[in-house]
């Protein structure tokens, strides 16, 4: 329903000085160079994607709007559950997500659900498209569904066919059958947040989770913390140092969470993304057989860093999803809320504010799509750059949206305060944004130090 034909301070579309209708009257070549379709912005980007990815994006949006969005507020406000107790709505969504292929799309059939037509495109790009749609709907549910892929990533990146067939295959199969088998990624330790994410810190860190050789495998002991989805996971890729060695011995163990000695001690009371648990896990003589060592002994550090390189662009995409949700919410408010007898959207300062938010959001998406498109072998520099820049700017956009709503910006029912709480986490996890800035430099240092080479940016 249109209330007026044009905003105050502008000309109606049919006015003699309005240019757009005149483009259609230019001669053919002029028309070809000027006459654009003023499509919806989401639709415009949709049309620019390769067909298979556009379809994926469209399906992700439909799933998010049908299943995630309606549950977002209730799950955000639900009382904190005891560890491992799953909210019925979360259980339903996980089953549905599994059946629709949202827990298995990093590999094509017969193992996974990635469309074969999407295979020529970097999986990181595909994941980024999905993550943006899910984040826009609910940060907590997005994290619940995305942390699973993070947990599976070392299995994929190990490059071992046996691992894919014997470990990842059953996970994906179970998910597709509507019996979600979630996998958690466990690197962070109580004494090591950033030390688990950058080499300089890891060099001097004394590992907190240690693997001791025993007959037929290893025994894991120690604690992991802030493990996203760790409370509901059936399996976990746990990184541990070998007994008597440092972080260079880090090895990835694929742990069955039902193994005796594996205990979820607690889940954290988080500021946001509350539909997903952040678990503290205690490992007491957890036996892991040799055939569950992923990628080989002492390959864990490389697998960990490669996993982070693959995940940081999708984390940046979370930022776009949140910024988009905030911008869309602010636009709706400005279109419907009246001050002085007219909707806020008619005021020039409101238009300036919204224009900045839209530009910020689309600039983030452009950056991410550009980097993700080329991220079949994601480079650390590019992944970190995307992560810290997009998430920093996304929080700024969310703050702008709250500022626009002013007195009403803090009301939970207006959604923005939840979006703010959700986006805040993206600047901390997967390496704080400070660590990600240093990570960019770390990856660049060879070129930075070579004075014979020009440094291109």
């Amino acid at each position: 329903m249109k209330t007026t034909d044009y905003l105050e301070g502008y000309l109606p579309a049919g006015h003699l000085l309005a240019p757009h209708w005149q483009y259609a009257d230019l001669p053919l070549i002029g028309r070809a160079l000027t006459n654009y379709q003023a499509n919806d912005l989401w639709r415009m980007d949709f049309n620019r994607l390769p067909g298979a990815l556009a379809k994926l994006r469209s399906r992700a949006r439909a799933f998010a709007e049908q299943h995630l969005m309606p549950a977002a507020a209730e799950l955000d406000l639900a009382p904190h559950s005891p560890a491992c107790q799953v909210h019925p709505e979360v259980e339903r969504i996980l089953c549905e997500a599994g059946k629709q292929g949202w827990l298995s799309y990093f590999l094509p059939a017969p193992l996974g659900t990635m469309p074969w037509r999407a295979l020529p495109h970097a999986p990181v790009w595909q994941c980024s498209l999905v993550v943006e749609e899910f984040s826009r709907a609910c940060g907590g549910l997005m994290l619940l569904l995305s942390a699973h892929h993070l947990g599976c990533m070392p299995l994929i990146l190990s490059g071992e066919v046996g691992t894919l067939l014997h470990h990842l295959g059953p996970v994906y199969r179970s998910c597709k059958q509507g019996d979600p088998h979630l996998v958690a990624f466990a690197i962070t330790e109580p004494g090591a947040g950033s030390d688990a994410e950058e080499g300089h810190g890891a060099e001097v860190y004394r590992p907190g989770v240690v693997a001791t050789p025993t007959k037929g495998g290893y025994l894991l002991n120690g604690r992991k913390c802030f493990i996203s989805g760790g409370d509901l996971a059936r399996s976990a890729t746990v990184f541990a140092a070998l007994q008597g060695e440092g972080m260079e011995s880090w090895t990835c163990f694929y742990v069955d969470c039902a193994t005796p000695g594996y205990k979820v001690v607690r889940t954290e009371l988080k500021m946001g993304m509350r539909a997903s648990g952040a678990a503290e896990i205690e490992l007491t003589d957890v036996f892991v057989p040799f055939n569950r060592i992923i990628g080989g002994l002492r390959r864990g550090w490389a697998l960990n860093r490669a996993t982070l390189n693959a995940s940081r662009i999708p984390v940046a995409s979370m930022g776009v999803g949140f910024a988009r949700a905030a911008t869309e919410t602010a636009i709706e408010f400005a279109r419907r809320y009246n001050l002085g007898g007219k909707p806020l959207i008619h005021y020039q300062d409101v238009q300036l504010h919204l224009a900045t938010m839209v530009a910020e959001t689309r600039a983030m998406r452009s950056l991410i799509w550009q980097e993700a498109r080329a991220a079949r072998q994601p480079r650390q520099l590019n992944a970190s750059l995307c992560k810290f820049h997009a998430t920093d700017r996304a929080q700024h956009v969310c703050e702008m949206a709250m500022d626009l709503l002013a007195d009403h910006g803090g009301r939970h029912e207006n959604k923005l305060e939840k979006i703010f709480r959700d986006v805040r986490l993206t600047r901390i996890f997967e390496g704080t944004n400070q660590i990600n800035r240093l990570s960019l430099i770390e990856d660049w240092q060879g070129q930075l130090l070579d004075l014979n080479e020009h440094v291109g940016v």
Binding site: V204, C225, K270, G340, L404, D407, G410, R411, E413, T432
Partner: protein, 375 residues
């Protein structure tokens, strides 16, 4: 009787002691904020100690009493900082309670201690700061028809709901109304209002409300044009000062937490305070706190002498800096800072609330344009 510097110092020591020993104790677990009973008990104690004004008839040295005296303003700012250091939500509730008393005295309303503690004071309209129009009216600039339309709409509680935050037990609402060409005041009983509770972003100790007046209320309490301007302007100035003081006190606590954590948390084999990335963030926090200190110091003057344009300018810049600094307190803590039982995340939510209250900060630019005669 006016206060001198020594009086102020001693009074603030008393408030600081009360904040540390009573309020901080109840607010020590950020994930379990003090409930309504504890808040009521603390309010009674603060009133008995004279930190809060006791009634409209008794003169004292409580918050915002005698704001025509520079030392009294200095005391109020200092007291709100100390209380906010312990719990920003409590400070906000008491700040608004004290402002209700200022308004009530000026309007000739008689409110006893219990009544005073249950007045919900709302200084502004339903959205923003009425763009340029409020400032033009405050400055006695000629109003155009659209200014009058806007001010009438801004203060129309029948057409638009107010979003407010207060202790849950309030009984009446004291708010401004537009009367043709000036702002008057109305005290409306809660039973005459449509009131919905609403979950809010911050101030977990308090309750969020959406309040609408379904039918016309009793006749407003009017003042002469000049007086009406002075009263409204002073209340708006004191409200902005209070919000800044609360933000500064809350950040002070956050700064201590960030420094303490940075001194013990290790990364790369050394305390994180030795990493330039963390030093930079701690400096950001110190810069914002200093900025707030300087702004507040210049406002320790009789309220009549303060230029509302300057107060609003400071609110626009300092509250943004305080929010960013609080955000850095989370970042210094890393993952733990995001958890509700740690404290920094609540600090950020409370700072955001302070920024969004009373029309927010975005419309201050339009307000200043009106104040400086740019329209």
């Amino acid at each position: 009787m006016n206060l001198d510097i020594e009086d102020t110092r001693q009074l603030l020591e008393g408030v600081g002691r009360f904040a540390r020993e009573r309020i901080a104790d109840h607010a020590s677990r950020p994930e379990s904020p003090p409930g309504p009973e504890i808040l009521a008990e603390l309010t009674r104690e603060a009133s008995a100690l004279g930190i809060l004004p006791q009634s409209t008839e008794e003169e004292g040295f409580g918050i915002w009493e005698n704001s025509t005296d520079a030392q009294a303003v200095s005391f109020s700012i200092g007291a709100l900082r100390s209380i906010a250091h312990a719990c920003p939500g409590v400070a906000f509730a008491w700040h608004r309670m004290a402002l209700a008393r200022v308004a009530a005295v000026e309007l000739g309303l008689v409110l006893h201690e219990d009544e005073l503690q249950r007045v919900l004071f709302s200084p502004t309209g339903h959205y923003g700061l009425a763009r340029t129009s409020l400032a033009k009216w405050l400055k006695a600039s000629p109003l155009q028809a659209e200014d009058i339309t806007l001010l009438a709409d801004w203060l129309d509680n029948q057409a638009h709901a107010l979003t407010l935050c207060a202790p849950s037990n309030w009984r009446s609402l004291l708010r401004p109304v537009w009367c043709g060409d000036h702002i008057a005041w109305q005290q409306v009983s809660r039973s005459d209002l449509e009131v919905c509770e609403n979950i809010q972003h911050g101030f977990d100790e308090l309750t969020g409300f959406v309040v609408r007046q379904p039918s016309p209320a009793a006749a407003p309490i009017e003042r002469e044009a000049q007086d009406a301007r002075r009263l409204y302007g002073n209340l708006l100035k004191l409200d902005m000062l209070g919000l800044l003081a609360i933000g500064a006190g809350a950040l002070e606590r956050g700064e201590e937490q960030a420094k303490d954590y940075a001194a013990i948390r290790k990364q790369g084999g050394k305390a994180i305070v030795r990493h330039p990335a963390v030093q930079h963030m701690l400096s950001d926090i110190a810069i914002a706190r200093q900025q707030a200190d300087m702004a507040l110091a210049q406002f320790a003057r009789p309220v009549d002498e303060l230029d509302i344009g300057v107060v609003a300018t400071m609110r626009a810049s300092v509250s943004v800096a305080l929010c960013q600094a609080a955000d850095q307190v989370i970042q210094v803590h890393g993952g733990i800072g995001y958890m509700r039982d740690a404290g920094p995340e609540k600090l950020v939510r409370d700072q955001n609330m302070l920024k969004l209250m009373s029309g927010g900060t975005r419309e201050i630019h339009a307000f200043l344009a009106g104040w400086h005669g740019a329209c």
